[in-house]
């Protein structure tokens, strides 16, 4: 890629040390996001997509631990490794909000119920920028208007419970955008919303991305949302990336049996005549007992002998398109 990436994650491992053992939530993940691009991260529950996002935000705390890897961010003209920063330290606090902001699935739990919407946004602005309260207030009202909240001055005075789910998510987005972050991490931001409201929020995020020139890391389990939002896609399974590439490549030409299985699992709105879905057999193994070899082998219809003993690395199958599967590579 010609442009320098905004953020580059290299061989990241995040493990949770619990009484039941070690959960290998993220087990060797690497990707990069270029400025103004949207990376879609797709996978099912427990695949490690949210933990990856939290690691990028510097939010991993005990019992979680970043075991290895780098999360490189260009910040103030130099490169910072977020993985090495103290999650409570001053440096990560300077990055969060200003460089990287995050929105979550359930806006009700991320907004403080006892403070007015507007004041929460003002607080975020004052925390990061040296401007007066009145100016911050004006900025907050502008932001509420920018995210399509009608009557922003009235909404400013309201509490989170007075807003609908879609409006709350818009308010969360306004807060996240308040300091013009270079990267916005969106963790299932539309999953709790109805489909018509989801469409509004997706349109909003696409518009903001153009207006603010923000890169987005968009985490979802919904392939439809990925198709409508992402430029590039990584597919995660059991703490690892099994496939990555440009969105069109991933949908047109999926190379990993797990990606193929996901595609076959969703009923299509676009065509008729599919009577039976090609489901993936079995269930996701526990992160406490990750199988030897390829994590997907126990469920894979194409599993070979080698898949049960060795774990395949991501290897390029087409320009910019990589898959971690022995079917696509000659084992050495």
């Amino acid at each position: 890629m010609s442009v320098d990436p905004l953020i580059e994650v290299k061989d990241l491992k995040v493990h949770f040390h619990t009484e039941d053992g070690v959960a290998r939530a993220v087990d060797g993940v690497g990707f990069s996001i270029a400025p103004e691009r949207t990376l879609g991260v797709v996978g099912e529950s427990g695949c490690g997509k949210s933990v990856t996002a939290r690691a990028v935000m510097g939010l991993i705390e005990a019992p979680g631990k970043i075991e290895q890897g780098e999360i490189l961010l260009r910040h103030n003209g130099r490169t910072v490794d977020i993985a090495k920063l103290d999650p409570r330290g001053a440096e990560i606090r300077g990055i969060r909000g200003t460089e990287i902001a995050m929105i979550f699935q359930e806006p009700m739990t991320s907004l403080n119920p006892v403070f007015r919407i507007g004041d929460q946004i003002v607080e975020a602005i004052l925390l990061h920028e040296k401007i007066g309260r009145a100016a911050a207030r004006e900025r907050a009202v502008e932001l509420l208007a920018a995210v399509g909240i009608p009557l922003p001055r009235q909404r400013f005075e309201q509490f989170p419970h007075q807003l609908s789910g879609g409006m709350r998510q818009r308010a969360m987005i306004a807060m996240a955008m308040s300091c013009n972050p270079k990267l916005l991490i969106a963790d299932e931001p539309t999953t709790a919303l109805d489909v018509t409201i989801q469409a509004q929020v997706m349109d909003l995020m696409n518009a903001l991305r153009r207006d603010f020139n923000t890169a987005i890391m968009f985490i979802t389990h919904d392939l439809g949302v990925i198709a409508g939002m992402a430029d590039d896609v990584v597919v995660m399974y059991l703490g690892r990336i099994v496939e990555s590439g440009p969105v069109r490549e991933i949908f047109r030409n999926p190379k990993h049996p797990y990606t193929q299985g996901l595609m076959g699992s969703i009923p299509s709105l676009a065509d008729w005549g599919v009577r039976r879905l090609t489901a993936i057999d079995g269930v996701v193994p526990s992160p406490f007992a990750v199988p030897q070899g390829c994590g997907f082998a126990p469920r894979c219809p194409h599993a070979m002998e080698i898949c049960r003993t060795r774990s395949p690395d991501l290897a390029e199958v087409a320009p910019g398109h990589a898959a971690a599967c022995f079917l696509n590579q000659v084992p050495t």
Binding site: E44, V195, D203, V247, S268, A270, L277, V283
Partner: protein, 339 residues
């Protein structure tokens, strides 16, 4: 009413009172279900789709009288096949008998299974309640049912917490099958499940339908799932069915502006599939105080004066195609093009 009708709902209403003050006087009502007419034929799957708060779950529960309907008829073809019985007015004894033929699968596979019962007991409980079969027979039946839903015999002695979400949903399905019912109301049976597990459960429901000749009322918010599994689809908005047609007719030739907008909002898993999204402004109005005239008019881009003042009749607009829109005949709404 034709002979192959299994269930016919007429004018079903369910209002929840809002009480206030010391005397707990009713100050308003939530009109969760506000006049639903729906017929389901033997062996078919009718999808009931709509956004949260539209009343689809309450409709399903009211049909089974898990919640008492405020008014309306729920005619169901009973055991003897001869005549339709009104579930809404059935005596407790009659209702218990009717429930042998109408069962439900719940959305949340975690809260709908008793954590203190073994899986075998859970699956056999409907038989026990109905006083059918002896203990040994019930146990044998439970094992058969577990196998029918893709679980194994040795699962029967375990407890629900030992199972994943998809497996729990299979247990719930086995329980619904225990009495050999005719109708199963599936209330969002796959929406709590991961994509790959969702596909397994959808396939299972289709296999069981074929094997046992089941009829489904399939309640869901996911249009793609509803399209895949249903023969006919009813779209609900704010307590009422606004459109009903065969699946293909509904998706290709919608007659209600809400259906059109809903379909255009669904994200399609194809980066080259470009639909022009029809924006729906604002949120669903409150069912306590629904808008005058057509409930949908404040969000409808085709609304005219008549829509603001008069409630549109739910009427036949094409062959076997019903919609409640004043302008159904003149609007050329956009459906999904078949490819």
């Amino acid at each position: 009413m034709s002979d192959d009708t299994l269930l016919e709902v007429r004018g079903l209403r369910k209002y929840f009172p809002i009480r206030k003050g010391v005397l707990q006087r009713t100050v308003a009502e939530v009109k969760a279900v506000d006049g639903v007419d729906l017929a389901v034929k033997i062996g078919e799957t009718v999808g009931l789709v709509g956004e949260s708060g539209c009343g689809k779950t309450t409709t399903g529960r009211a049909i089974l009288r898990l919640t008492e309907p405020t008014s309306g008829e729920i005619l169901f073809r009973g055991r003897d096949d001869a005549r339709m019985i009104d579930v809404a007015t059935a005596s407790p004894a009659r209702l218990k008998e009717l429930r042998r033929d109408m069962q439900i699968i719940f959305q949340d596979p975690y809260s709908s299974l008793n954590p203190r019962m073994t899986v075998g007991e859970i699956v056999a409980e409907p038989l026990q309640i109905q006083g059918l079969m002896g203990r040994a027979e019930r146990e044998a039946r439970a094992l058969d049912l577990l196998k029918a839903v893709g679980l194994s015999e040795d699962h029967s002695r375990r407890f629900p917490h030992e199972f994943s979400g998809g497996q729990r949903q299979r247990i719930g399905i086995a329980r619904a099958l225990a009495l050999n019912p005719k109708l199963i109301i599936c209330d969002e049976p796959v929406s709590a499940l991961d994509v790959s597990i969702q596909a397994q459960v959808i396939n299972l429901l289709q296999d069981l339908q074929e094997r046992f000749g089941l009829t489904y009322l399939f309640i869901a918010h996911d249009l793609s799932v509803v399209k895949h599994i249903s023969n006919r689809v009813a779209v609900m908005y704010l307590g009422r069915i606004v459109e009903l047609a065969s699946t293909r007719e509904l998706f290709e030739n919608p007659k209600h502006p809400y259906t059109e907008a809903l379909m255009s909002a669904v994200p399609v898993a194809d980066p080259d599939f470009k639909v022009e999204r029809i924006p729906l402004e604002g949120d669903v109005p409150s069912p306590v105080d629904p808008p005058k005239g057509c409930h949908f008019h404040p969000r409808c881009r085709y609304a005219q004066d008549i829509c603001r003042n008069e409630v549109p009749a739910y009427r036949q607009v094409a062959s076997a195609h019903f919609a409640s829109c004043h302008r159904a005949d003149e609007l050329g709404l956009r459906g999904l093009k078949s490819s």
